[in-house]
């Protein structure tokens, strides 16, 4: 791999930062068109420059990379962190996805946020997000990556709580931040562990240290698991996924950009970026695989019973992120990133489509009050349908190639930890695929098909062109985005492109892995379960519309459990939230107020005052009392003397 110095990288990063500053500080005085121009142009230019820089990496087939050392950030006491940026094959994909999808969503936002009084603040936050996300994907050391990691978390917090007058929205923002913070502690400690052995935190340095055996395997596993704790926070995996559904409180373009296409995939990116470590730790990889698989299945089941259109998509995102972790867990790093990319296309499109619906219905998000929108919003409907086909794994759509690549790799390889790991992941992934097709078509049918259940008096307005075009672009990508990795047609471009930067996992290929026919059979299996899900949704939501109600009543307990998201939020509310709150209250009231202050500090003070009161009684000014004390004293003295002289 050859390094070339390029100062374009910092410009790619700084453009959105400039946009954020301009709109943040002066946006309130800017006319609206200027805010939009600054917001969109900064990201657009960044995208253009990224394409220019990426071209260099593309022509080298990922063999070469651009690097830039911006400045030395922290250097003291044996630690030296510089703000360094690297554009290699992996970050090329990420930068293009981030700036490209961001640009499209910025444009869409012009329409979606049109009437909002805090228009400039919105664009400022959105640009700040792109800035942070670019630091995350271009940073060439863990601390710099962490800067972006926390930065995107901040923007997510600010944008979830964008309409902060609503207490529920503000609370959702806080919840996201704190869930992420819990993960971040894992990330931090993972870094600490690595630094102890490698004495560096630059990714190249770590790769060298790991390769040279400077880090014992057990500590590699520990570090990987700790870093993965960070990933479960950022990428909403069990047990820290709970913030993502609540994050839907933010404006819908934000859900599309941050909570579907880009930020939430940071954990997957991080694992792929550090594949040289994860590949050496079968245990950590197995944990990643299993957490991903269980999350993929678990979140998909919740998606079945939600009626809020954005909530369905949110659980779908959690579930799809689970797939990506299966990918990077079973050692198919390129496949994980591939699915990250296609998911960015179709999920962004789905969210923006749902946004168009919500916008058209003046803020309605309940699918039970939608229906029949197909005719009123054809543009939205068709793009939404394309993306639904993509996520459901319909053959030749992007999601088909990327999801199948992951499932195939899980099926055809075996982990050193045990053969059951990948098999179980495959099973859960396949089941989740069926459920995905079901809940997605349920959503489509409830929203766009059937009779309109829109309350009277709600005027449905057709989406504006500024919102339609982004939908079209993303839908197009959702259809064709899988072609660079259409492995069953012998297109392995994507995998080869990433080959120089991701590691080869420590897994065994099963006997049938080399047979092209078995890959076809596997793909056929996923298509079949997808069809099953589709057929069920078709039957229940188009043909026998009384079916869902009947089933919900028939299996009431199961239905309630799923509908209420397995009561996980309620459990967390008791532990740890309430538990910590009362613990803190107890510490304050008992330890601080009662023991330290009451007993130890004011105690002696009261004792001194008590003594003072007694002393004061002695000097009351009352002659009789004085005479009494003189008498007592004198008698005592006499007795003492008498005793001393031997008289008594």
């Amino acid at each position: 791999m050859t390094d070339y110095n390029s100062s374009a990288l910092v410009v790619i990063i700084l453009l959105p930062a400039v946009g954020a500053l301009l709109n943040g500080l002066f946006g309130r005085r800017f006319p609206r068109w200027l805010v939009s121009t600054v917001g969109c142009a900064s990201v657009g230019l960044s995208f253009a420059l990224a394409i220019w820089a990426a071209y260099f990496v593309f022509v080298s087939n990922g063999e070469e990379r651009l690097r830039q050392d911006v400045y030395s950030w922290i250097s003291t006491g044996g630690l030296s962190i510089s703000i360094g940026l690297t554009l290699d094959a992996l970050s090329t994909i990420m930068v293009l996805v981030v700036t490209g999808v961001s640009f499209v969503i910025h444009i869409y936002s012009i329409g979606y946020m049109e009437g909002d009084p805090s228009y400039a603040r919105y664009f400022s936050y959105l640009n700040l997000f792109v800035f942070s996300m670019l630091i995350l994907v271009l940073g060439d050391s863990l601390p710099v990556l962490f800067v972006g990691w926390e930065g995107v978390g901040l923007c997510s917090y600010l944008l979830i709580g964008f309409w902060f007058e609503d207490p529920a929205k503000a609370a959702a923002g806080k919840k996201a931040f704190i869930a992420n913070r819990i993960g971040d502690l894992g990330f931090l400690i993972g870094m600490f562990v690595l630094f102890g052995f490698a004495h560096t935190l630059s990714i190249d340095g770590l790769a060298k240290a790991v390769a040279s055996g400077a880090v014992p395997t057990v500590w590699i596993t520990a570090a990987c698991l700790l870093l993965f704790v960070g990933a479960t926070g950022k990428s909403a995996q069990i047990p820290l996924y709970v913030w993502l559904p609540d994050a839907m409180a933010g404006p819908t373009p934000v859900s599309a950009l941050i909570h579907a296409a880009t930020m939430v995939t940071a954990g997957v990116y991080m694992v792929a970026r550090l594949s040289f470590m994860f590949a050496l730790s079968p245990t950590a990889s197995a944990v990643v695989t299993l957490v991903g698989a269980v999350t993929a299945f678990f979140a998909a089941t919740i998606g079945i019973a939600q009626t809020d259109i954005k909530k369905v998509l949110a659980y779908s995102t959690v579930s799809q992120l689970g797939y990506m972790f299966i990918g990077v867990g079973v050692g198919a790093y390129a496949a994980g990133i591939f699915h990250l990319m296609t998911h960015a296309f179709f999920k962004a499109c789905l969210f923006l489509g749902s946004g168009a619906v919500i916008h058209a219905l003046s803020g309605e998000q309940d699918m039970m009050r939608m229906g029949g929108l197909r005719r009123k919003m054809p543009w939205t409907y068709w793009t939404f349908l394309m993306s639904t086909l993509a996520i459901s794994g319909c053959p030749f759509f992007s999601g088909f190639f990327s999801k199948d690549e992951i499932l195939w790799k899980a099926l055809s390889t075996s982990s050193p930890v045990g053969g059951w790991v990948h098999t179980l992941a495959y099973g859960l992934g396949l089941a989740a695929a069926a459920i995905t097709a079901f809940y997605m078509f349920r959503l489509v049918f409830l929203t766009f098909h059937g009779e309109s259940r829109i309350p009277d008096g709600v005027h449905v307005h057709q989406e504006k062109p500024v919102m339609s075009w982004p939908l079209a672009v993303l839908a197009f990508l959702a259809v064709v985005g899988g072609l660079p990795g259409a492995s069953m047609f012998h297109v392995h471009w994507f995998e080869h492109f990433l080959e120089p930067v991701v590691a080869t996992a420590n897994v065994t290929q099963k006997g049938f892995a080399s047979l092209q026919s078995s890959e076809w059979w596997a793909a056929g299996g996923s298509v079949l379960v997808g069809l099953l899900g589709f057929a069920l949704a078709f039957n229940l939501y188009l043909q026998r519309t009384s079916g869902p109600g009947y089933l919900a009543a028939r299996f009431k307990r199961t239905y309630d459990l799923v509908k209420n998201k397995y009561y996980v939020d309620e459990i967390y509310e008791i532990f740890p939230i309430k538990f910590i709150y009362y613990l803190a209250l107890g510490l304050w009231r008992i330890v601080d107020t009662l023991i330290i202050d009451g007993l130890c500090v004011n105690g002696p003070a009261y004792a001194a005052r008590g003594l003072g009161y007694i002393g004061r009684e002695l000097q009351s000014g009352n002659l009789q009392v004085y005479a009494f004390w003189i008498f007592i004293g004198f008698s005592t003295l006499l007795l003492y003397l008498a005793h001393g002289l031997g008289l008594i």
Partner: protein
């Protein structure tokens, strides 16, 4: 390094000159008094910046030294100097002074003359404590701080100001009296051993004390400083003092006075009694970590914003103490930087609370809600302070916390002190909970104060920050990002002093041989390079 011009004296005594100048002015000339105080503090700041600029980062010894004999027979001298341990704190003190003064223009309208006189006197006490290199001189300044602070709380404070002031005074006094005993003890022991009466700190560093005496003396110093920091369980004066003190008092208290505790460990307790420091290290570390978690938890349930910030200080200062105990170049640099960071971010939080208190005359969280709508600029500033406080990367708080945590986790000194690698890992991990809880209590407070509907009518009439308030706040915000993005500007200045300090203490405490190879190498090299070492070799 001796410089011809007594620039440290100028820095130190200028506020006193200001204090007397203020005394000359009739009480009714409030504006003149304020402007005069501001003028003096600005000149002082200019001097401090000049000193920072002139401070040589290659020199591990004290710079700008002034030394005159004060009481010949007793070996007490007027000995001022500055090294990497005090440089940043002196700069912080001088930087905050004009900001604090400007912040009081409206808030303090009663006994203005006396107020600024006290403030200037406090400045002298603080600067003197940081600059003194003679133990008795230090003690005089240390006690001198107490009186103006007592007055600031007791006269210009809130409703329970007398209780808070007395509590502050007595708490601190208990510690300082014991410290005085220990100072005299060391002073006499040194005399017994060498026949030389001297209160010069660096001569006393070499005093050989019996193990028993070292333990007692360290305990006395440590208690005095632990109360000042404050470390759990000696912290209960702080919430009361903060809540009752006027804004200016709270800012100085949090930003500077607490740092005298942590500074005291670095300047006095550790170098004077290194072996005892190693012995007590584990206990201090455990108390520091308890403080981190406990302070954060208790901060979470406070109904009063100022009290919340006060408890958050207990938590933040725990990190600083942990960094000192871990005793590696990385952690001590991190602690020094974190002292400044806490001063800036907590100082800013108190200033902002003061801004809103002047308008609403309450600090109860429940009295607010939805302020972000009404006061966008104020909310933005508060948000920045919050993010700095919870250590978001890009702000100053991250750099300090990261250095302390990274260094502590990998500190072989701490491994040795605690008796095992596993203990270090466990302790650091528990300390890490403070990072999570920090986000919890701050963001929860922000949510309740700034977000949600603007439900209280009183809050609908609030005005956003005015120009004066903006001028107070903006420099702090600039510093937050300056340190966050370019920490090397400050770390670079102190690095060699810190390396020297760590090497010196480690060697004398007998824990150096377990220090990791590269640290040891560096420390040895520094000891060889240092002027003291050269001096020692020559004799």
């Amino acid at each position: 390094m001796h410089s011809g011009f007594p620039i440290l004296s100028l820095l130190l005594w200028l506020p006193l000159l200001g204090a007397f100048a203020i005394l000359m002015i009739p009480s009714r000339e409030k504006g003149l008094i304020r402007n005069l105080a501001l003028g003096f503090s600005l000149v002082d700041l200019a001097i401090a910046i000049f000193l920072f600029h002139g401070f040589s980062s290659d020199d591990v010894g004290r710079q700008f030294v002034e030394k005159w004999s004060l009481i010949n027979g007793l070996g007490v001298s007027y000995h001022l100097g500055m090294d990497g341990l005090s440089l940043l704190l002196v700069l912080l003190t001088a930087f905050l002074s004009p900001i604090v003064i400007l912040s009081t223009y409206k808030a303090i309208d009663d006994r203005v003359k006396e107020f600024f006189f006290s403030l200037q006197l406090l400045q002298v006490g603080v600067l003197g404590s940081f600059l003194s290199m003679d133990v008795f001189l230090f003690y005089v300044f240390w006690e001198l701080m107490l009186i103006p602070m007592y007055l600031l709380i007791g006269v210009w404070g809130g409703q329970r100001r007398v209780y808070a002031a007395v509590k502050f005074f007595l708490y601190t006094l208990v510690g300082s009296v014991l410290m005085l005993v220990a100072i005299i003890w060391v002073y006499l022991e040194h005399y017994k051993a060498t026949g030389n009466l001297t209160a010069d700190l660096f001569t006393l560093y070499g005093t050989k004390l019996s193990g028993h005496a070292q333990m007692l003396c360290f305990a006395a110093f440590a208690l005095a400083f632990a109360i000042k920091v404050p470390m759990f369980p000696f912290h209960t004066w702080l919430p009361d003092a903060h809540v009752e003190a006027p804004t200016a008092g709270s800012v100085i208290l949090a930003a500077v006075l607490l740092k005298l505790g942590t500074y005291g460990f670095l300047r006095f307790a550790y170098p004077l009694f290194p072996e005892a420091a190693a012995f007590f290290g584990p206990y201090i570390a455990v108390l520091a970590v308890i403080g981190i978690v406990y302070g954060a938890l208790v901060a979470m349930v406070q109904p009063d914003v100022k009290k919340l910030i006060a408890y958050s200080s207990v938590s933040h200062l725990g990190f600083i103490m942990l960094g000192i105990v871990a005793l590696t170049p990385m952690t001590v640099s991190g602690s020094l930087l974190q002292m400044v960071n806490h001063g800036i971010s907590t100082g800013l939080l108190f200033l902002l609370v003061g801004v809103i208190y002047e308008r609403r005359h309450t600090r109860l969280i429940t009295e607010f809600g939805g302020l972000a709508k009404q006061l966008p600029w104020f909310s933005l500033c508060f948000m920045v302070a919050t993010l700095a406080s919870i250590g978001l990367p890009g702000t100053n708080g991250f750099v300090g916390e990261f250095l302390v945590m990274l260094g502590t986790f990998n500190s072989s000194v701490l491994d040795k002190l605690l008796g095992g690698r596993a203990y270090t890992i466990a302790l650091t991990t528990v300390a890490g909970l403070g990072i999570i809880l920090g986000a919890v209590y701050m963001l929860w407070m922000v949510q309740r104060v700034f977000f949600g509907p603007l439900s209280k009518d009183e809050n609908r009439r609030l005005k956003d920050m005015n120009l004066r308030e903006a001028i107070v706040v903006i420099p702090m915000i600039i510093i937050i990002f300056l340190i966050g993005l370019f920490p090397n500007l400050f770390l670079g200045k102190v690095q060699r002093s810190v390396d020297h300090f760590v090497g010196d203490i480690g060697r004398r405490a007998g824990i150096i041989e377990t220090v990791s190879n590269d640290t040891k190498h560096k420390a040895d090299k520094l000891v060889l390079d240092s002027p003291e070492a050269k001096h020692d070799r020559d004799h």
